[in-house]
């Protein structure tokens, strides 16, 4: 539970002819995390993919390219699941059929798009030329005359005159530039071109047309409309065709990628002339079945053996009970635990919602967030979203529970002597009396006591972190290191707790802050122990870290602070709505409702974001840092769960 899944290192050895069979078996078992074979030597080389791999990957590429038009929604559930044998039988035909239908349409689409581009180009040439007023057929087709038609920044007439006298120039304004058509003799064309370049000449390629500009533009327009209609028709057809064949396409994609993965297994194995070896990790609990199945399915020719290697670096497979599972997302976004480390997910799954609820603590807000979370989880089906929304739901439930503790409902006081009921029904009414008796903790009144409580929670939380830290370091580097690196800080934490206790005791007794008392004295041995161990283990420089730990401890005061801010907002909005606006007539009532709704909407959004982030931060910064190193590799077994296909 606290540790990742225990693994054993195995090697799967057998004759090469059985590699294909073994590949299928391993894939179906879906349990072996394969270590890729890298160092080639005299006898063992990296294997060659099975023959069918190249054909499979070709088919897969076509299926994926067809599928890319369809756009599959996350969490799509197939209506029909295809069996592997059926797919195997018909795969060539099916893929070719799909390809023919789709490819014909796709190539037509490409043609149309190309033509549309050309139409656009021609129009961009025609419109400026039209403004010159020269018929298009007069702009081309001369034997001794060169025509330059294009854009220039300003009128080049003066400069052309300096080069040649035999020319004709037409110019008109177009946008911020000018369109020119310069007719010159071929002899002086080069010189004129150079001059034009000084005016940043951009040539327009004159389309060869035999009708007038307006007529041609009309032609283009009508052609364009036609093509666009055809284009959208084709796109719709493809879409419809894919919708109809979506399950088949998805099944093909899944089947082909599975087969491809299987046939590429040799690339990860070491192979000699006659044998193969695959090395990897299998969860300890499934090793026996693994061994048996591999052996049986290959007629006893392939064996799986446990090996005791010096190099034992298994992947991390997190193992947590169902309720803690969603929190793995939060753990992993910090780091993947090493195989030898404690997986803090389950601790987080208890404390994260508690911290969240402690901060927000409002029955009304809790219900709203819970409803929102449940609604969203029907909309967002991806794994990540589902996990995140479950975390939100747990947090919302915790918020409701703490709401009862604080007696708060949308910022109104529910329990106690100054409740909404007392306001509504009078202080002497039976309802007011009933709710006055319910035990609760008023956050605003009891703030100093809650502040002390938050610090105590912090000390407990961090002490837990150090205990785990001691275990982690002891396991990896031995007890000496554990005591010098983690145990000393546990001592420091206890001394901080005692000093803060002493401070509070003095305060309550009305003495000056640092007058000697029992708590201060009790802190001294812990301080000495900490100082000695730290100097031995980490060096005197690290004594300064005591301040960091102190600040970490005080950091837990945010459990109160964030909550007070949220209550403050809620109370302020309620005051604005019902004390200031409500009594001032009908308009005031409308305004009051608006202020109430908008105010609490904002506050709920902040109430999700801020307690969520702060709770996460307390785990990431104050908790994890003390024991969690991370850097593990996630367990990725060879195989997968089928969704669109089934084995026979």
């Amino acid at each position: 539970m606290l540790e990742p899944v225990r693994m054993v290192k195995v090697s799967v050895v057998g004759p090469k002819e059985y590699l294909e069979k073994t590949s299928s078996t391993l894939y179906r078992l879906n349990g072996l995390h394969i270590e890729d074979y890298k160092e080639e030597d005299e006898y063992f080389r990296i294997g060659e993919p099975l023959e069918r791999a190249s054909k499979l990957s070709k088919l897969l590429v076509s299926v994926r390219s067809i599928l890319s038009y369809a756009g599959v929604k996350d969490g799509y559930e197939p209506e029909r699941v295809f069996s592997v044998s059926e797919l195997n039988r018909e795969i060539d035909v099916k893929v070719r059929e799909l390809e023919e239908v789709i490819n014909a349409k796709v190539s037509r689409i490409k043609e149309i798009e190309e033509r549309l581009r050309k139409i656009g180009d021609e129009r961009r040439a025609l419109i400026p030329l039209k403004s010159l007023g020269i018929p298009p057929d007069l702009l081309t087709g001369y034997r001794n005359i060169e025509v330059f038609a294009g854009f220039v920044k300003s009128n080049p007439f003066e400069r052309i005159v300096e080069v040649t006298k035999d020319f004709e120039l037409f110019i008109s304004e177009y946008d911020d530039e000018f369109v020119v058509a310069v007719f010159v003799k071929k002899d002086s064309a080069e010189d004129v071109f150079r001059v034009l370049q000084e005016f940043s000449f951009r040539e327009i390629s004159v389309p060869e047309i035999d009708v007038g500009y307006d007529e041609r533009l009309r032609q283009l327009e009508s052609e364009e409309t036609e093509l666009k209609e055809e284009l959208s028709g084709l796109r719709k057809e493809i879409k419809r065709y894919e919708q109809e064949n979506l399950d088949l396409l998805l099944a093909l994609e899944e089947h082909l990628s599975i087969e491809l993965e299987k046939s590429e297994l040799p690339l990860r194995a070491a192979t000699s002339k006659y044998a193969f070896v695959i090395v990897g990790y299998v969860p300890e609990e499934m090793f026996e079945t693994f061994q048996k199945v591999v052996n049986e399915e290959t007629d006893g020719k392939v064996v799986a053996l446990k090996i005791n290697d010096r190099e034992f670096n298994p992947p991390t497979a997190l193992k947590n009970p169902v309720f803690a599972k969603p929190f793995e997302l939060l753990t992993k976004s910090y780091a993947v635990p090493k195989y030898s480390e404690i997986d803090p997910t389950i601790i987080m799954s208890v404390f994260f919602p508690i911290f969240f609820g402690f901060m927000l603590g409002d029955i009304g807000y809790g219900i709203v967030i819970l409803a929102l979370g449940l609604w969203l989880s029907t909309k967002f089906k991806t794994e990540g979203w589902q996990a995140l929304l479950k975390v939100l739901n747990y947090s919302a439930i915790s918020t409701i529970v703490f709401g009862f503790v604080y007696g708060e409902f949308f910022g109104f006081e529910l329990f106690g002597h100054k409740t909404v009921f007392a306001e509504l029904f009078g202080h002497e009414s039976s309802i007011a009396h009933m709710f006055a008796e319910i035990p609760h903790v008023n956050r605003l009144e009891k703030a100093p006591a809650i502040l002390v409580l938050t610090i105590a929670i912090g000390v407990f939380h961090m002490a837990m972190a150090y205990v785990i830290g001691i275990r982690n370091v002891a396991k990896e580097h031995g007890w000496k290191h554990a005591i010098e690196e983690k145990f000393n800080w546990l001592m420091a934490l206890i001394s901080i707790a005692l000093i803060i206790t002493g401070f509070i005791l003095n305060n309550m007794a009305g003495k000056t802050a640092f007058e000697l008392n029992y708590a201060y004295i009790a802190a001294v041995p812990f301080l000495i122990l900490w100082a000695v161990l730290t100097i031995i283990g980490e060096g005197p420089m690290f004594l300064i870290e005591y301040l960091t730990l102190l600040s970490n401890t005080i950091s837990y005061a945010r459990l109160l602070a964030v909550g007070l801010a949220s209550v403050g907002f809620a109370v302020a909005f309620n005051y604005m709505a019902f004390e200031m606006l409500w009594p001032s007539g009908p308009v005031g009532i409308v305004a009051a409702v608006l202020v109430f709704l908008v105010g609490h909407f904002i506050n709920i959004l902040l109430g999700i974001l801020d307690p969520g982030l702060q709770s996460l931060r307390l785990h990431y910064v104050e908790f994890f840092v003390k024991f969690f190193e991370g850097g593990g590799r996630l367990y990725a077994p060879f195989g997968r769960k089928r969704k669109y296909t089934k084995e026979d």
Binding site: S333, Y334, A335, A447, P448, L451, N507, S551, N552, I554, S555, A557, R558, A561, L613, L616, R617, Y620, V621
Partner: protein
């Protein structure tokens, strides 16, 4: 001005100034963290961690204001 008034002003300053300080500290870290996340989304956890570190200062301010107001 009465002593209580001065105490209240002091408590407000403790939180407010600490907040400004934390904000100034976080602006650079936040920008860098978002940049790093754009390169590698798995940086999110650590990015968040770095970004919120200066926030502790505000909590110090808050604790001081509490001590002023209630004790």
């Amino acid at each position: 001005m009465a002593v209580e008034g001065m105490v209240a002003v002091g408590a407000g300053l403790a939180v407010g100034l600490a907040g400004i300080g934390a904000g100034l500290g976080e602006q650079g870290i936040g920008a860098a963290a978002v940049g790093a996340m754009a390169e590698d989304p798995s940086f999110f956890g650590r990015g968040l961690l770095m970004t919120v570190i200066p926030e502790t200062i505000v909590i110090f301010g808050l604790v001081v204001s509490f001590l002023l107001m209630f004790m």
